[in-house]
Amino acid sequence: MSNTTNILDNFSRIKFYCDTNRCIECHGCDVACKEAHHLPVGVNRRRVVVLNEGQVGKESAVSIACMHCSDAPCAQVCPVDCFYIRADGIVLHDKKTCIGCAYCLYACPFGAPQFPKNGVFESRGSMDKCTFCAGGPEETNSKEEYELYGQNRIAEGKVPMCASMCSTKALLAGSSEEVANIITHRATMRGENIPNAVPNVWKTAYGN
């Protein structure tokens, strides 16, 4: 029993991983995400960040969204406890409970929580973030779930939109074990030192 739990903890948690050796900054992932979930202007659940732009040999791009951390800082700080974490590690939240205080944004090291601004006083609505294409607490595949959280592709047995649209297969989504296997294989093919390529400390958002 404890062995099973351990395996679940270490391997069965879902993960995103962006291989910076492959990401070509095409923004396919963020456009696909926005389109699939019909996100309003100003809300970017996934973004592509470019590092060392224009410096030959140093430039690299990375795609960032909610990393569905196991220690989920957002869930820790939420004053209304609107977050819940599924058994597979997907971090979701209830938009009807959320008060839009933005504490989750302050806690998140990835800047994942998004706040649509509306009205004359720029009042912020409920927080919006990447759901790993797994919808929300409403009935699965219901109209309400779609309107609040977007598509529930996990319920349909598909990988998240961003990862499925990635033309260079830089953005990987799946269980920690699967993702780690792919990047280890890629690193081996490149003849790289394997431990440097395997993200073995990406379990939690802060520290280790």
């Binding site: 590092l51 140093k58 004053p79 944004l105 302050y106 090291p109 400390v201 990406w202 958002a205 520290g207």
Partner: protein
Amino acid sequence: MKTIKTFLLMLFIAFSNLAFAANPSVPQEGGKQYAEVIKGNDTLMVNPMNKNLYGGPEVEAIKNWGIHSPNAVGWGNIFTILQGNYFSTIFAIIVILVPLAFLTHFMVVGQKKFEHGKKIRVFSNYNIIVHWCAAVPFVVLCLTGLVMIFGDKLGGGSFVRFARDVHGIATILFVIFGVLMFLMWIKHALFRAYDIQWLMIMGGYLSKEKKPVPAGKFNAGQKMWFWVCTVGGFIMAISGAYMYFQFADIETLRMMALLHNVLGFLVIALLITHIYMAVFAIEGALNSIIDGHMGEEEIAILHSYYYKEINAA
């Protein structure tokens, strides 16, 4: 005086960090790109095209993806620990223990009673109106703030969201009358040498003796409250505006949230004290800010220096 120093220090910390929002140097180890990330990080923070993109912190966090990489720095971790484990507990302790302490005081020492024969006018109508126009939104701010802090106990959703909206609207009213109150009473609220004596005898509140207490128009306790609620309230409004409009980088927003909470402890503790002193500790003290008149004996004992001033005039 110490409270003011603490405020200035906190304010200084809050704004000095604006300049150092990005990560300073991190040792280069292992992975080839991690150390180079720092430069890209700075570029993201200063690039005007990216001002709405929280690039820095994410990129910092990416360093955690690789082995041998340093831990992500910044205030996010500190904020998570404090907000996740301590803030709501501290607020709960304050709203339970402070009234309990005063209840004990009320039962052990009891109310101060004075003769209300001859009355002297101490507050003008302008004083009274400004005081109440600042006081009502202030109490509303504290209450709605507490609703948000204990939002999980109240179920979140529309009620807590409503409290949050009221919190924002009340701020506008408080800022307008808070400024007027600041200008109106700043002269009387400057600290004097005899305030130290007042603090040493705790304002005479620990005994039933009717001995003249060293205090001007306001005693040292009232002066402390004045500075906390005006200057502190102003800092609360600024940090709250930062959090509401999100017009700064993520590190500044985090510090504003910390500042807002830490000042919140002080403001709520002192608000409870102020209400207790005015309503329960001294019989009829509340009347002075309702009709502007205070009993002569009350002034002679609790505001002895002010009494001398009036008699001299």
